[in-house]
Amino acid sequence: MNKIIAALFLLVQIGTSAGAQVKSYEPGSLVSDFKLKNVNNKQVSLADFSGAKGYIIVFTCNTCPYAKAYEQRIIDLHNKYAEKGYPVIAINPNDPEVSPGDSFAAMQERSTSKKYPFPYLIDQDQTVTRRFGATRTPHVFLVDKTNEGNKVAYIGAIDNDTEDNNPDKIRYVEKAIGALMSEKAPETTVTKAVGCTIKWKKGTGTSL
């Protein structure tokens, strides 16, 4: 009997931990630091980037065609802004059991073959992904290092032109970084875009 009660209790706990989401980040939220494994097997946290003025945190993956469509633009962002104090930190949120193409080994392969100039981290238990409230790949969180802490400045898409054929596209992330560099608040702080759902571990995703 006790066993059954204990099992029931555990079930309820699992249920609530998956369901009762801590409110995810919004523009203005302070970001708690995290420690995730990089493709080179070293742990990476925000505190490691002592010279950074902020971070371009991108939830992305190997497999989503939209993430792939933006891959070069993510590399370009890093190449353009890392030396200005805003490095890219890429995080793969997908559970490799649900999405085998997003395994750690596959991540290592992709980051090597595409010569990622930024860390590519695995969020093994998906805690960081949940805390941020990332819902799709690719999903950008631009974070500004302030006196109060690391503050979310912008959440959303890289630009408004997935197909990459409109010369007049709005480059949301670049515009937001531009604002931060001139110590202004970004004009647009949230955008939506089409992407792939995050591949949650079985039994932990949103239920109906």
Binding site: T63, P65, Y66, T135, R136, H139, A157, N160, T162, E163, T191, K192, A193, V194, G195, C196, T197, I198, G205, T206, L208
Partner: protein
């Protein structure tokens, strides 16, 4: 016999040869949904490039087939680029012999149309919009569905007898 076949073809061209794919704006979609009254609309947003979307397409076919005659309507709305309509989407739909209605969303700005379809939608696909005008239901589920989940989604949103 041949004559009957031709007549059949005239009456059921879609079911025999699969769907064509038409363009659809959000306004057109909303108009379509508003005439339904007691119909449960299941509007699935998918794309040919989205593997989990393609995995769940058969569930929508099966549901429409099983519930044939009931007030339920499946609309499959592709978010593929408009430039892929002829080269990718139409051949894909033809190959899969999809019998539900298939559309390609004819909107330019994702930033704009995602919110117009549902404020709670982040833009990730697969996503399924459930609409029942009579019961004033309009909810979006942003996840990939199993057949049972889809069936449940339909059943919990049917009009009262």
């Amino acid at each position: 016999m041949k004559k009957y076949f031709i007549i059949l073809c005239l009456f059921f061209p879609l079911s025999l040869f699969g769907q064509t794919v038409s363009l659809l704006t959000v306004n057109q979609l909303d108009n379509r949904l508003s005439v339904g009254k007691d119909t449960v609309y299941l509007v699935n947003f998918w794309a040919t490039w989205c593997a989990p979307c393609i995995e769940e397409l058969p569930h929508f076919e099966k549901l429409a087939d099983t519930m044939n005659g009931k007030p339920v309507k499946v609309l499959l709305v592709s978010l593929d680029f408009k430039s892929k309509l002829e080269t990718v989407v139409r051949p894909f739909v033809k190959k899969l012999q999809i019998s539900n209605e298939v559309y390609l969303l004819n909107e330019k700005s994702q930033q704009d149309y995602i919110d117009r379809i549902d404020k709670n939608w982040s833009g990730a696909i697969p996503a399924t919009l459930v609409v029942n005008t009579k019961r004033r239901i309009r909810t979006l589920v942003e996840k990939e569905l199993t057949y049972d989940e889809l069936l449940n989604l339909y059943k919990t949103n049917i009009s009262d007898e």
